[in-house]
């Protein structure tokens, strides 16, 4: 049985923890609104980009000569995985969910005896992966300094990826991030960006084949060659935006829970404190009464 003093100390310590988590929740909520707005604003760009590329790739008559970024280089021995995580912790299962998803994919690749290369974006992902996959991680990028997600950062990552692809350092590239659905739900996503594999491609081929042709200027190939590298950056930017909204959402829920739990704990401890105080008083009373009786 802890003494009254101990209980008092614990109550005040839990209360100050609660204050911190509450503040973090508020900050996350404010940031979430902005991040969500940004994510929603950024969606049209990547959607349009995707649409244009779809239309273009349908228009490419000669599949053989299509750019490698679109169709791949015919092999799939070396996989590059770009794992996008946050730079800060205390955001619930946010990072762990991405890592879990990524690890499953890693295992699958390693089981097929393929080479695995990893680029981590964000320090938390690196921290979690370095223990198990130290020799697979080829690069760790972190944007701790930049306050908001911006296109410039995404472009940097995109350029690194393209450079490596041109040097033939990998054949297939996939990115991992959390898609923001709502504050409570974030879905870890795996998306293959090189070669561009789109689940919608097959459906749209049939739907757009009804003579919906475009005029191109310059030629399709040239446009595609120019557009695909941009698309990579765009996809990464989209992932980063979704990620930052998810991070804040996840943090908000986590901190909300923490605040509630702290509240419960304070209640419990207060009851315990009151009881033991009452017990002490009763004990003293009994002592006094029985002392008086014996006289």
């Amino acid at each position: 049985m802890p003494s009254l003093d101990d209980l008092k100390k614990r109550i005040s310590s839990v209360k100050s923890t609660q204050k911190i988590t509450k503040a973090m929740k508020m900050v996350a909520a404010a940031k979430l609104r902005r991040a969500q707005e940004n994510a929603e604003k950024g969606r049209p760009y990547s959607e349009k980009m995707n649409n244009i590329i779809l239309n273009l790739s349908n228009g490419v008559s000669d599949k053989e000569s299509a750019p490698q970024l679109l169709i791949g280089n015919g092999e799939e021995k070396i996989h590059l995985c770009v794992v996008l995580t946050s730079d800060r912790g205390l955001c619930g299962g946010f990072n762990t969910n991405i890592i879990k998803k990524a690890k499953m994919y890693f295992q699958k690749i390693l089981n097929e005896n393929k080479t695995l290369k990893i680029i981590t974006v964000g320090s938390k992902g690196y921290d979690q992966l370095k223990r198990a996959y130290k020799e697979n991680i080829i690069e760790n990028i972190s944007f701790k300094e930049s306050k908001n997600t911006n296109y410039f950062d995404a472009d940097k990552v995109g350029k690194i990826i393209i450079e490596k692809f041109e040097k033939k350092e990998f054949d297939v590239c996939a990115i991992f991030y959390n898609q923001f659905k709502n504050v409570i739900t974030q879905i870890p996503q795996e998306q293959q960006i090189i070669p561009l594999k789109n689940s919608e491609t097959k459906e749209s081929v049939s739907s757009t084949s009804d003579g919906d042709s475009y005029e191109f200027e310059p030629e399709e190939d040239e446009i595609l060659g120019n557009l695909l590298p941009k698309n990579i950056s765009t996809q990464i930017f989209k992932a980063m935006l979704e990620n930052s909204a998810s991070e804040q959402g996840s943090r908000m829920t986590a901190m909300d829970n923490a605040t509630r739990n702290a509240g419960e704990m304070v209640d419990k401890l207060t009851i315990q404190y009151n009881r033991s105080r009452q017990a002490a008083i009763t004990k003293e009373l009994i002592e006094i009464i029985s002392g008086a009786e014996s006289l």
């Binding site: 049209p44 760009y45 244009i52 296109y151 919906d212 005029e215 200027e217 557009l227 930017f237």
Partner: protein, 132 residues
């Protein structure tokens, strides 16, 4: 019949501009300036650094952009660009910065002709802007 169609200018961060009532848009396409009126054939094209002119019934606005893709389809014109700014709101210091950067870049002898051509264009446009 109205002569108006819809224009959207989108950059990665947001939908920069949405206008429902444009009559003509002049874009700096890769192979020369191109004016787009209503019921233009579906087209996809690249932009080089330059000025977009947006003409509506009542006004004429100009925007500077660095690169981009235009898609015109079903009387919807979408312009995707990484950097766009209204010329009248273009800050002098920003403009000079870009100009300086571009001039530095063009001295780099390793870049190919196409890139050189693009940067040349950029410098030209930026210079003409800084005079006004």
């Amino acid at each position: 019949m109205s002569e108006e169609y819809k224009l959207e200018i989108i950059n990665p961060e947001e939908s920069f501009l949405i206008k429902e009532d444009v009559i003509e848009v002049v874009v700096p396409a890769f192979e020369g300036e191109m004016g787009i009126l209503k019921d233009h054939i579906s087209i996809i094209s690249f932009l080089k650094p330059g000025i977009i002119k947006v003409i509506t019934k009542s006004s004429e606005e100009k925007y500077y952009l660095e690169d981009g893709i235009v898609e015109f389809k079903d009387n919807n014109l979408s312009i995707l660009t990484s950097f766009v700014v209204k010329t009248s709101e273009f800050e002098k210091s920003r403009l000079n910065n870009l100009l300086e950067e571009a001039e530095k870049e063009i001295k780099n002898t390793e870049i190919n002709d196409q890139k050189k051509y693009l940067i040349d264009q950029k410098i030209e446009v930026l210079k003409s802007l800084s005079i006004n």
